[in-house]
Symmetry: C2
């Protein structure tokens, strides 16, 4: 995957702690190779208190074209970006950073986009759709923004913690333009159902939505990665739904990240 590793290789570190289980070094590097770009995603284990000193070092290293940001740095890295996307500013979070032409950093939050791409890649029709989103935490908030940007017609948001829903509704008020509301986890009448809660990570978790309410016309997506087909998605498939799992989201993320990172990286390579 990195047979092109040489002195001319461009670097895209992923910073986080812990770092040893991240998949981007393998996956994103492979995506770069598929795009014929001599780029390497390398893991960097950066404790929470050391973000500033590491960012300063990476900023000074001229062949570092971009940075992937994972926990615990997603919030704090935002402050290192001179510019950012609107969705990153709304959330105060960045998942990925690339160089501006002047060497400063431009941040974006692509987790929601990756989720949306995974749904579309597996057959979801989002434009004008009625969507139930269960989970209004970090992942759910990013996905809500991405779904609205993707042109869904109506977005119903549920979270067991109602204050989270209220916060998210306020956050997407402008973007939503009357399309967003709070509601129960009832998919009746929805075209697309999205799980953005951690339910499905552990054996014996309750399902985020009652599967008896799913019908075969619905598309069902899940953020849970690394667990294959979750019990919720298995139930959705049994109901005849098409589905996309968290692994598909991780897969889609590589393309979304490469699109973002190579937009200026190629220009910098000369």
């Amino acid at each position: 995957m990195s047979d092109r590793l040489s002195g001319a290789t461009r670097l895209f570190p992923i910073i986080g702690d812990p770092i040893r289980y991240v998949e981007s070094p393998t996956r994103l590097t492979r995506t770069f190779a598929q795009r014929d770009h001599n780029g390497l995603c390398v893991p960097m284990q950066v404790p929470a208190g050391d973000l500033d000193v590491v960012m300063a070092g990476l900023t000074a290293a001229l062949n570092v074209d971009g940075i992937l940001v994972t926990m615990p740095h997603k919030f704090t890295a935002f402050a290192h970006c001179a510019t950012s996307s609107e969705r990153a500013r709304m959330l105060g979070v960045v998942s990925v950073i690339r160089r501006n032409p002047d060497g400063t950093w431009h941040g974006d939050m692509l987790d929601g986009l990756a989720f949306v791409k995974a749904q579309r890649d597996h057959g979801a029709q989002l434009e004008g759709a009625r969507v139930l989103l269960v989970g209004a935490g970090g992942a759910g908030s990013a996905i809500a923004i991405a779904l609205l940007e993707a042109g869904v017609g109506e977005l119903v948001i549920h979270d067991a913690d109602e204050s989270r829903v209220a916060t998210l509704l306020k956050l997407v008020d402008d973007l939503g333009r009357g399309r967003v509301s709070a509601g129960p986890p009832d998919p009746t009448g929805c075209d697309v159902v999205c799980n953005a809660t951690p339910l499905g990570m552990d054996d014996g978790d309750p399902l985020p939505v009652d599967p008896a309410l799913l019908t075969s016309a619905m598309f069902v997506g899940d953020v849970i990665a690394g667990h294959g087909v979750t019990p919720f998605l298995a139930a959705a498939q049994a109901a005849g739904c098409r589905t996309a799992n968290g692994g598909h989201m991780v897969e889609a993320a590589q393309d979304v990240m490469a699109d973002f990172l190579l937009l200026t990286a190629d220009a910098a390579e000369g």
Copy 2:
């Protein structure tokens, strides 16, 4: 070569400017793989004025187990090492740095060792040998120390700049214990002849030693890399000498560096 690239990969950046032509990312990474170590040597382009900020960042990144140092940082990086080898302190130069158990850096200067290993790998017998070394600059100084450490019996040093020879003689006075002297570039009576000047880099360079004075019993080594068999080595081979070229030195350097870097890196991997 880096099929094992993952979140668990240990990093060994090579810092320098320019960086795109360095071969260590390819070669040292391959050597790590041959030793079944999940380590990656990645290029980092670090301008002269940015060494401090980059070193601070790399120090904070916990999966950075070592650093290779090339121009323009070989002198300045020395100050970042809490501990160092005697030869590094003699020269005030480091070519490679690894972690101490407390996370600080230990520096060494391995260029001379790599040269010595290349000579031995190609048949040179150094213990007790009479050696002519032409060139008393940075490379020559490192080689002089390594030859003395390797147990040569007598070392004659020549440089067109006599002040360099005087400085080097003073530097190795303790180590040399009467074995070292200044002399003309005349190999008569020598067992080993070493070129540590840049002669041979450019077409039309004069030869560092008159090849008419070489005999088949002599071993002849050259530091010039990337130029294959130099005119000097071609003349030596024509005289029946066994030889080692700069490419062999670069090759030997990978093993010497891996030996040094993995001494504590393996312990840190757990």
